[in-house]
């Protein structure tokens, strides 16, 4: 069936909406409408974590909570989920275990980032994150006062046994039943000349895309939602894919990772942990937990940013994109993909071949700040060498041209040469001729060019276990 409203829960209370607020950002809804002003808005572009809240979604039959930036989520993306704000962590209690630990560690100075850190630390508890992974778990939250060490000390001081899980505060069964009862509905809302489609199945999504080719696809929305958004606030029809369960699947099939278009980078990182550790390590430098918890595989590809971190590995592993349209499903090599491929359809899956035993994958990202930053240049190498000679070396770079590129001429230059530093040095000139770096706010063209060339050497040294 089709319904004309969205519903979700905030701190255990059901919220149902069908008016223009469906398009509001969660952060503004919480503060202006619900007067939950514990959530602080600072950057309003997903770059500081101050407005973090927990979003509980059904995973493997239960509600799993993750930290998300409320400034990047439009309310329509919340259908069938439970939002817990900093206020919701302590119903009837003075402070939670996490807050108590932060206070004891003097983890707040001006206090403006504090609710976001409370949420991030709570998310770390919900996911059972170990102490050594805490820095990474907190890397999506900026603080300008404390120097972070007190927050880490607080995180380490929380005793898991004393932590009261959200499932105890908010028994999941009734919510889960509510979500299940309405999860298969398609949503269609028309208000003030704006239209929203949020179907539950791929078939329905494809059908809508066919009948409304002008509709803008919204997946994780991390790029589209930055307010004021040309897309979300400008009144264009939206086709939200976040409710299509089939798009969120992630699994290994033979030698390929099958990634649903709507799979989040957090999901991909989890499977890569065992199936392709090099990729998992690289993914941990994507944005921040709050971004990876929302941002999707296909969203990143379809956005075709010249700085997309996701593309270099997909390019060297020669991934295929499965595009679903009215005619059915077809495969498009990622290298040939252009937005035109999706005019009458949408990306449904990404088929990512895993490196074979005789192949070596190396991935690098260079950014101004180590964590939570876009890349200046990122690089992927896939090597096959036999007896000290390069059988084939695939190279892809971001940040050195109008799009993320494979370096065909450099690859050809290196084919058959000895696998040694001198060969890679010699390839520098060819590489330079192949790229066209430009200067922008993040880095100058000279730096990008140098980085690109040095990546060859860094790759070479990494084979010896250095770099």
């Amino acid at each position: 069936m089709t319904r004309g409203y969205i519903f979700f829960y905030i701190n255990g209370q059901r919220v149902q909406l069908n008016g223009p607020r469906v398009f509001w950002r969660l952060s503004e809804f919480l503060r202006d409408e619900r007067r939950l002003t514990g959530t602080k808005i600072v950057c309003a572009e997903g770059a500081c974590g101050s407005c973090s809240v927990l979003q509980g979604r059904m995973e493997a039959g239960t509600l799993r909570y993750r930290a998300v930036n409320s400034c990047l989520l439009s309310l329509f993306q919340l259908d069938g989920s439970h939002v817990v704000t900093v206020e919701g962590l302590t119903p009837g209690e003075a402070t939670s275990e996490v807050q108590g630990a932060l206070i004891a560690a003097h983890g707040a100075q001006c206090g403006y980032c504090t609710p976001g850190f409370v949420v991030a630390l709570t998310a770390a508890q919900e996911q059972g994150i170990a102490a050594d992974a805490l820095p990474s778990a907190l890397s999506g939250n900026l603080c300008r006062c404390t120097g972070y060490l007190p927050m880490l000390e607080a995180g380490c001081a929380i005793k898991p046994a004393a932590y009261r899980p959200l499932a105890q505060i908010y028994p999941p069964d009734a919510m889960a039943a509510d979500f299940a009862a309405h999860g298969a509905d398609n949503i269609e809302i028309a208000v003030d000349g704006r239209r929203l489609f949020a179907p539950a199945t791929l078939e329905e999504a494809v059908q809508i895309k066919r009948t409304h080719p002008e509709a803008v696809l919204v997946s994780g929305g991390t790029e589209l939602a930055v307010p004021p958004s040309e897309v979300i606030d400008a009144g264009r029809a939206l086709l939200s894919l976040g409710r299509v369960a089939a798009l969120a699947e992630v699994r290994r099939e033979a030698d390929t990772l099958v990634l649903g278009a709507g799979a989040t980078w957090t999901q991909v990182e989890a499977i890569a942990q065992t199936e392709c550790p090099e990729l998992a390590a690289y993914l941990r430098r994507f944005g921040a937990p709050q971004i990876r918890n929302v941002g999707t595989v296909a969203g990143s590809i379809a956005h075709v940013s010249p700085a997309a971190d996701s593309l270099p590995p997909l390019l060297v592993l020669e991934a295929d994109l499965e595009v679903a349209d009215a005619q059915g499903k077809r495969l498009v090599p990622v290298r040939e993909y252009t937005p035109r491929d999706c005019q009458g359809g949408l990306i449904s899956r990404v088929l990512l071949p895993l490196p074979r035993a005789e192949q070596t994958l190396r991935l690098f990202k260079v950014s101004r700040r180590r964590g939570f930053d876009r890349s200046v240049v990122s690089a992927a190498f896939l090597l096959e060498a036999v007896e000290g000679r390069i059988q084939s070396l695939r190279i892809a770079l971001s940040g050195v041209g109008p799009c993320v590129m494979r370096l065909a001429r450099t690859e050809a230059f290196l084919k058959g040469r000895r696998l040694e530093e001198a060969s890679l040095c010699a390839a520098g000139e060819t590489l330079r001729a192949e790229i066209a770096p430009v200067s922008d706010g993040r880095a100058g063209a000279e730096y990008r060019g140098l980085l690109a060339e040095n990546m060859l050497l860094k790759f070479c040294c990494s084979l010896e276990g250095n770099a």
Binding site: K40, H106, Y112, P135, L152, G441
Partner: protein
């Protein structure tokens, strides 16, 4: 409400068309400079700031039209519909451009001792150089904002996120033509400030006040973060041209240095900031012959302003850089050069501006102590060995010091007052002009007052800062918030205690029949009770005492004044906060990416009032300084457009930038008896210690570069890699 701002950095306004914007539903009113009641001009030193542009525009983002509306959407829509026609002119954006055009703010400033020219002529070695240090965005998480509402008889109440309630009161009264008695400014707390809300909290407060006065309604001006970044000033970028003379063992004999700061469009606090630069070039080192000059460049950028350190870091960076360069020139260990030049006793213990550095052994001892606990010698050898071995990375290690002068260099600002009210139940409210911005001032004042009265801190409440209770106060700045406001609060509570002491002596004597000869000595205030030292079991709860005192008409309130003693021409500073940091870094030679591997800090902060708060200031200040010297690069293009915005385009440190080994310690047994509770100020000094990270990078580069590495500050990955590329010895990569 909000403003429509100038899209260009410099130009002449030819037309402001508001007709279309007026028709937007929900727009209440629109104002231009012509609508400002008394004067459009204000400012902390010179009064050359403007509420709204008139005639010309002087920087991108300068407010031109004030928009008051019922909703954010209405204001946003009006912003789009306001048409401001400007004939653009070529802006000056850089120090070079300003020097070429002779565009300066204020006079040339100078600090001189001895004969620097002669000293350079006679020196065994002379090194000339130039150093550029970058700006820094405050990135306080709570952006600038204020709410104003009208009261009776033309009064205004303004709640502002400001470090200086008095200044808001002053400028609002001045601009709107009100008496200062008609304006109250209140600040409960700020979501961070770091100097950015010392003078530049004024525009939103003025906007809200103007609208409240004109419309008779409450008005709120709140910048979004992206607008805040584009409209407000930052730490001053500097250039220093220096010439230093030294002996064969690295002892400095003469220093001549010319400093240029990029002041932006107006004077703001730039002269005071330049003064502090010149007062901190010496840092921990004795400079016999010195000639330091400072000029403030006037450019078409938002006026640069106070930022934690207030010009000090820009001066200290230069002399610490010189220490590295002398060491690299002579092939000496930089720590040895620093030790040789360190302030000592006697005539080697006097600063270029004539103030004696007390305790000649303090700084050398601090260096020795830190070198020992930080294992400097063995790690220096390990770094050299690593660099001899590694072809992919290069490491560096460096120790820098700080000797930060505590006091406002504008002497009149070194005053404060406090109001302490004891209520009949013995609970206490304290009010001072000090503002809380996360630095823990309120907690420290609470402790100080509780200690004076012998009660628990929970019985003391520090009230929102308000000009109604504390008049004519200085900004909470210069690290001196606790010294000044705490000093006044201690004095006020001390006077109340003195009155209660006599009263308690009488009361206790009545009960136990023991005559009290010396009440101040014999009557004890502790743990919420008052008793005679000789009869400790006979206690009066403090609340009962207060209640009884009230019945006897004893005054339980006090308003006290404090001024820093002893300041004068040769003594701009009350005392110095000292410290040292030892940093080790590792640079990826392929990418320029730098990691800070270990930091050891030792500081003398006297007797800490609250060690946890002081540790927080130390950690936070250091990491903020680390951002300034590494990833935080403020950049404008030649049109005066800010490139390094919004938050995603400007990189403050994240948790992943913390050094994995981060040891911080305070000097044990330290005292500072002249100051409140024998403590020392701690807000700004740790930021300057992060310069050690930059000098460690310079040290690292010296292992692989030809000649002295020319490294700008901040040392971003880009800066480091380009330096390696231009000066790196080539055989290393291709061996």
């Amino acid at each position: 409400m909000d403003a429509a701002c100038s899209p260009v950095a410099f130009g002449t306004i030819t037309c402001i068309d508001l007709e279309d914007a007026r028709r937007v539903p929900g727009i209440v009113s629109l104002y231009t400079a012509a609508d400002v009641p008394r004067t459009n001009h204000y400012g902390p030193i010179k009064g050359d700031d403007r509420l709204l542009a008139e005639g010309d525009v002087l920087y991108q983002g300068e407010p031109v039209v004030l928009i008051a509306g019922e909703t954010r959407e209405a204001v946003r829509e009006a912003q789009k519909r306001i048409r401001i026609e400007i004939i653009p002119r070529t802006p000056i954006t850089t120090i070079d451009g300003a020097i070429a055009a002779g565009s300066f703010l204020g006079v040339l400033r100078e600090v001189r001792r001895g004969d620097a020219e002669a000293g350079l002529r006679d020196a065994e070695h002379v090194l000339k150089g130039q150093m550029e240090t970058g700006g820094q965005e405050h990135l306080y998480l709570e952006s600038q904002g204020a709410i104003a509402y009208p009261g009776e008889d033309g009064q205004l109440v303004i709640h502002a996120s400001t470090q200086n309630t008095t200044e808001i009161q002053d400028v609002v009264a001045e601009v709107l033509g009100l008496g200062q008695h008609q304006v109250v400014c209140i600040c409960k707390r700020m979501g961070g400030a770091f100097g950015g809300k010392e003078s530049q909290a004024a525009p939103p407060a003025l906007m809200a006040a103007l609208v409240a006065l004109k419309t008779g309604r409450a008005a709120r001006a709140l910048y979004g973060k992206a607008d805040d970044m584009r409209r407000t000033g930052k730490r001053h970028p500097y250039r220093a041209e220096y010439e230093v003379g030294f002996s064969g063992n690295g002892l400095i004999t003469a220093l001549k240095a010319a400093f240029y700061s990029n002041g932006g469009a107006t004077t703001d606090l730039s002269p005071g900031i330049m003064d502090r630069t010149l007062f901190h070039v010496d840092n921990a080192y004795f400079l016999p012959h010195v000639l330091l000059t400072g000029r403030i460049c006037r450019t078409h950028l938002p006026s640069n302003t106070a930022f934690r350190g207030f010009g000090g870091p820009q001066g200290v960076a230069v002399v610490e850089n010189i220490m590295e360069e002398i060491a690299q020139t002579l092939g000496l260990d930089a720590l040895e050069v620093r030790q040789r030049n360190c302030y000592g006793a006697g005539e080697r213990g006097v600063t270029p501006y004539g103030q004696a550095v007390p305790d000649g052994e303090a700084l050398p001892e601090l260096m020795r102590h830190l070198a020992a606990t930080g294992e400097y010698e063995s790690r220096r050898e390990a770094v050299a060995a690593f660099n001899a071995r590694s072809r992919t990375h290069v490491k560096g290690i460096s120790m820098t010091l700080v000797k930060f002068g505590i006091s406002f260099t504008s002497t009149f600002l070194n005053q404060a007052n406090a109001l302490v009210n004891v209520y009949k139940d013995g609970a206490v409210q304290v009010s001072t002009g000090g503002t809380e911005m996360g630095q823990g001032l309120n907690t420290k004042i609470k402790q100080l007052v509780a200690d004076q009265l012998g009660i628990l801190p929970e019985k003391v409440r520090v009230m929102p800062t308000s000009t109604e209770k504390n008049n004519n106060t200085p900004p909470t700045a210069a690290s001196a918030g606790t010294d000044l406001n705490g000093g006044a609060a201690v004095r006020a509570s001390g006077l109340i205690r003195a009155r209660l002491t006599q009263f308690a002596a009488d009361l206790l004597a009545e009960k136990n029949g023991l005559r009290v000869e010396d009440p101040a000595e014999q009557i004890i205030f502790a743990e919420g009770c008052v008793y005679d030292r000789r009869v400790p079991e006979q206690q009066i709860p403090f609340g009962d005492l207060a209640h009884a005192a009230h019945r006897e008409r004893i005054d339980l309130g006090e308003r006290s004044f404090y001024k820093t003693p002893g300041l004068g021409k040769d003594r701009p500073f009350f005392y110095y906060t000292l410290g040292g940091a030892l940093a080790e870094v590792c640079i990826d030679r392929f990418t320029g990416e730098m990691t800070v591997e270990r930091v050891d800090i030792l500081m003398d902060i006297g007797r800490s009032i609250n060690p946890a708060i002081d540790r927080g200031q130390l950690l936070g200040g250091f990491v903020q300084g680390m951002g300034w010297v590494t990833t935080e690069k403020v950049s404008y293009d030649e049109d005066g457009t800010l490139l390094s915005w919004p938050v995603s385009g400007y990189k403050i440190p994240s948790v992943l930038d913390l050094p994995p080994v981060f040891n911080v310690a305070f000097l044990e047994g330290a005292e500072n008896p002249e100051n409140v509770a024998s403590s020392k100020a701690v807000g700004e000094p740790p930021l300057l210690l992060a310069i050690s990270v930059w000098t460690a990078a310079k040290n690292a580069l010296s292992f692989v570069c030809d000649g002295i590495p020319r490294l700008g500050l901040p040392a971003t990955g880009e800066e480091l890699l380009l330096c390696l590329y231009r000066q790196g010895r080539k055989e290393v990569v291709q061996e």
